[in-house]
Amino acid sequence: MTYPAIGKKLGAGEMVILDGAIGTEILRRNVTWADHQLASRPEFVRGIHEDYIRAGADVISTNSFQLCRRALYNHFRDEAHRRQIGAADLDQRADKLLAASVRLAIESRERAASGRPVAVAAAITTLEWCFRPDLAPAPQQAKREYREIFQVVKDAGADLVLLETLNSISEACAALEVAKSLGLPCWTSFVCDERGRLFTGETMAEMVAALEPLGVDAILLNCAPPGDINAGLKELLAQAHVATGAYPHIGRFDPPEWMFTDEYPPARYLQVATSWKQMGARILGGCCGTTPDHIAALGDLRQ
């Protein structure tokens, strides 16, 4: 359990550095991430985690974006169709890979943290596509699915849950309630638009008012360009009582992959992060397109 050390830092108003992208980093290293590479190339995934730990990350997030039973089952009409044509392991695959994603992060910490407290955050996103709140399941259904996911990552030894790229208050609340009922520390991170609103159009004030009574440990913004994150962060900081943070993406989404640009090299990325620290954010890291070099640059924020 490493979370208390992180929680203590936040309580003291100290900076906590999050890691950078893992999905796009896999691509940048010229490997496909269609199956997360958790089973096929564990040493490769571990290598990226270790690079982020050596770059100074206090919290590393598991390579588990969109990894859940629903994501696999969505490719079929229904159960009958899945049984007819689907691979035999699909019933267990998501749970197995989720557990593996936590295990790999823990192993990376053992290899690279040199005794420094590094927390392993199980990175879990929306049950449906992160940019499509219109597809979100009803809260009761969402709770059932999140319970299954969180139990797996808890049993595997995750220190906290990082709910990332959330797009609606209702799904965030459903997930947060489940995480708390399992005794897991929980950070919630939302994607926001140019106006600093959630993708449902809901405001930061509405979101904070809904999440803080449920015991959220920190609220962050992620997976939007720095300008959008900046707009959202202003609103968030004006409302939140808990610790706040941000990890923007840099470059362009080029589905199904990522387009890397040189718009935000590490030095400029640090400038943006420094301005957010000055505004009051305490948890800073990187989303899609960021690299271990970006996270290493954020080390200056500790001064």
């Binding site: 496909t32 991430w33 269609a34 199956d35 997360h36 974006f65 969109q66 990894l67 859940c68 994501a71 696999l72 969505n74 490719h75 079929f76 009409r77 009958a80 169709h81 049984r83 007819q84 044509i85 689907g86 691979a87 035999a88 699909l90 695959r93 998501a94 890979l97 596509w129 940019f131 499509r132 709140p133 638009d193 140019e194 993708f199 939007a224 360009p225 993406h249 362009r252 989404f253 080029d254 589905p255 199904p256 992959e257 387009m259």
Partner: protein
């Protein structure tokens, strides 16, 4: 249509399709981005050439489920796509469609088979082929498919092949679209566990509907070989058009993070070419004349099928 193909079809001689493009490219290590058409067009072309060398008389463009929705669907909306998406995504589909026809045409030229092989422009459901619940209504499907069909018409494919269609509405839309752009069309349905369309709509009714709209052949595809066998018996009873099928082999093993069709099939080794050919030979014996392979099949499957069917009398000149 290609004249030789039309003649062979109407005289009920066997016509050999190619095998899988997507699953075979992925099996060969091609990264599934933009259907391989931007970064690995040479390997797409190479695979077409291998299918032609194996004896395929119709090669299909590598465009399964390639339409603007697969990119738009992963953004909040069009504005979001412009805001955070890579430049050019809005026009990307037509560019890729054109590339797909060009590599097929180049492969055919390299194989010296301009007069022996036809190029079929592949159109598929606009949403995920295995999710009929997401399929657009007829009018919407018609207008969106028309844009794709126009590109194929401009690039002068020999025919359109509507593949893995999962609702009658979208199949009808495709048949109409083909007529609008002046191309012959074959319609192929994906078969569900009930032996009907994946939408559970009756296969016989689906066939009647597209036949009325001028489809020149009907097929069934993207189900295991035994299911294709059962479905073909229904097709035979439902139509006098030339008909056929192409089965997938192994099991669909989707990725865990995205929604568009990702062509990855596992355990395909349980259906080596000889076993597949034995099943397909039964289809031929029952009267099916258009045969090929869906997901999981390889040039070796098509070569075996070619040998077994004695499909093409060597040296038979046509056109």
């Amino acid at each position: 249509m290609h004249q030789s193909l039309e003649a062979r079809l109407n005289s009920r001689e066997p016509v050999l399709l190619d095998g899988a493009m997507g699953t075979e490219l992925v099996r060969r290590g091609v990264r599934w981005r933009k259907h391989g058409l931007l970064t690995d067009a040479d390997r797409v072309q190479q695979l077409h050439e291998e299918y032609l060398a194996a004896g395929a008389e119709v090669i299909r463009t590598n465009t399964f489920q390639l339409n603007p929705r697969i990119y738009l669907n992963v953004f909040r909306n069009r504005q979001h796509m412009r805001h955070i998406g890579a430049p050019g995504l809005e026009d990307l589909t037509s560019k890729l469609l054109r590339t797909s026809v060009r590599v097929a045409r180049q492969a055919r030229a390299n194989a010296g088979k301009e007069h022996q092989a036809a190029i079929a422009g592949v159109l598929a459901p606009l949403e995920h082929c295995f999710r009929p619940d997401l399929a657009p209504e007829f009018e919407l499907a018609r207008s969106e498919q028309l844009e794709l069909a126009r590109v194929f018409a401009e690039e002068k494919v020999d025919l359109l092949l509507g593949e893995s269609l999962n609702t009658i509405a979208e199949a009808r839309a495709l048949a109409e679209v083909a007529r609008a752009v002046g191309l012959p069309v074959w319609i192929s349905f994906v078969i569900g566990p009930e032996g009907e369309l994946l939408s559970r709509e009756p296969l016989a009714r689906a066939i009647r509907e597209v036949e009325k709209l001028g489809a020149q052949a009907v097929l069934v595809n993207c189900a295991p070989p035994a299911e294709i066998s059962r479905a073909l018996a229904k097709v035979k009873a439902a139509t006098r058009l030339p008909y056929g099928g192409f089965a997938h082999i192994g099991h669909f093993s989707p990725p865990s993070w995205k929604f568009e069709f990702f062509p990855q099939f596992s355990e395909t080794e349980t259906w080596p070419p000889e076993r597949y050919t034995a099943e397909a030979r039964r289809w031929r014996d029952e009267g099916a004349t258009i045969l090929g392979g869906c997901c999981g099949t390889t040039p070796a499957h098509i070569a075996a099928l070619h040998a077994a069917l004695g499909a093409r009398r060597e040296g038979a000149k046509s056109a």
